[in-house]
Symmetry: C2
């Protein structure tokens, strides 16, 4: 293994363990030494790769912003279909790639008051809820999405997903919903 490869591997190792701990225990509750211990490395090494705890957080939020933007690219014939596609993807990921589910939780946390200001600003630069609001309005005009305040519908849908992701991050053995149960929040009956 070349040094470059080794370096990248360590960086990822640290990043993903930090993600896991930030999400399960909370950012402030996670000590740098917790991350180091979980990886069996020294705290010094951790600071060799990331200059501060906050830098680690920032790096993760950058990843999350990128991921969210990508998911917004998802193509679909109609708006409801967009939500089905994205939700299916998330629920499958929740089982197989815990980090996607964790990232989801991290991003929500980063958007709340109490997060470091620069990180919060970055996290708020993507806004699933507002993005989806426009889609919902379209879906309502074509009649596939139920009537009602589009902002409230969007908020409700994403908060429901959020709640589930959060719970699943803390209690991974818990059963996940069938996608239809959540799509029904939006779907015209």
């Amino acid at each position: 293994m070349t040094r470059k490869e080794q370096k990248e591997m360590r960086q990822k190792q640290i990043l993903f363990k930090a993600l896991e701990l930030f999400v399960t225990k909370g950012y402030a509750e996670t000590k740098i030494s917790d991350i180091a211990e979980a990886l069996n490395i020294s705290v010094g090494l951790l600071f060799h790769y990331y200059e501060s705890k906050e830098a680690l957080y920032l790096e993760l939020v950058k990843m999350g912003v990128q991921g969210t933007k990508n998911s917004e690219q998802a193509k679909a014939e109609n708006p409801l279909n967009y939500f089905e596609t994205v939700l299916d993807g998330l629920l499958i990921a929740a089982k197989n790639k815990p980090w996607i589910c964790q990232m989801f939780v991290l991003m929500a946390g980063a958007q709340r008051p109490g997060a470091p200001e620069n990180i919060r600003t970055l996290a708020l630069s993507v806004d699933q809820i507002r993005f989806s609001e426009a889609l919902i309005i379209r879906g309502q005009t074509t009649g596939v999405i139920k009537k009602g305040d589009p902002k409230a519908l969007s908020t409700t849908f994403w908060c429901a997903v959020q709640g589930i992701m959060e719970y699943h991050a803390a209690f991974p053995e818990t059963p996940l919903p069938e996608p239809g149960w959540l799509i029904n929040i939006l779907k015209k009956t």
Copy 2:
């Protein structure tokens, strides 16, 4: 005002401001001095009333446990009706009594890994999800609740509520769902 009254008022004042800050900023992110400043009192006074930050947390969780147990007493002709009653109550409270909504969020946080162990244990002593599971099974036999893994249904419903409460605690101006949207997670169509 008698001294006893004054004392109780201060204790409540501190307790409710702590609840607000613990929920909006996060427990670990909230400094004792944040609470003191928000109330225009000294940190010393805060320690005069509560012997530690954790004691404050514990006190709040005790309140929450009590509240949850009370809400479980809610009577209803059929299981679906129970959920409608409780949900209506919560959504109305979310608008008028922010602290109920905040308490909801606090309790969920206290149940997760990362919370102090004694507090976590206490918080886990009430379990909305398990309690509701039994009701859901009953509702399924009488045909008012849809088919599907009762545990997953219960988890999904409460996580959805949780997600909304959390969002609303952080962004109170946000529109709340119509109760029916969430009841539809459970309701047989």
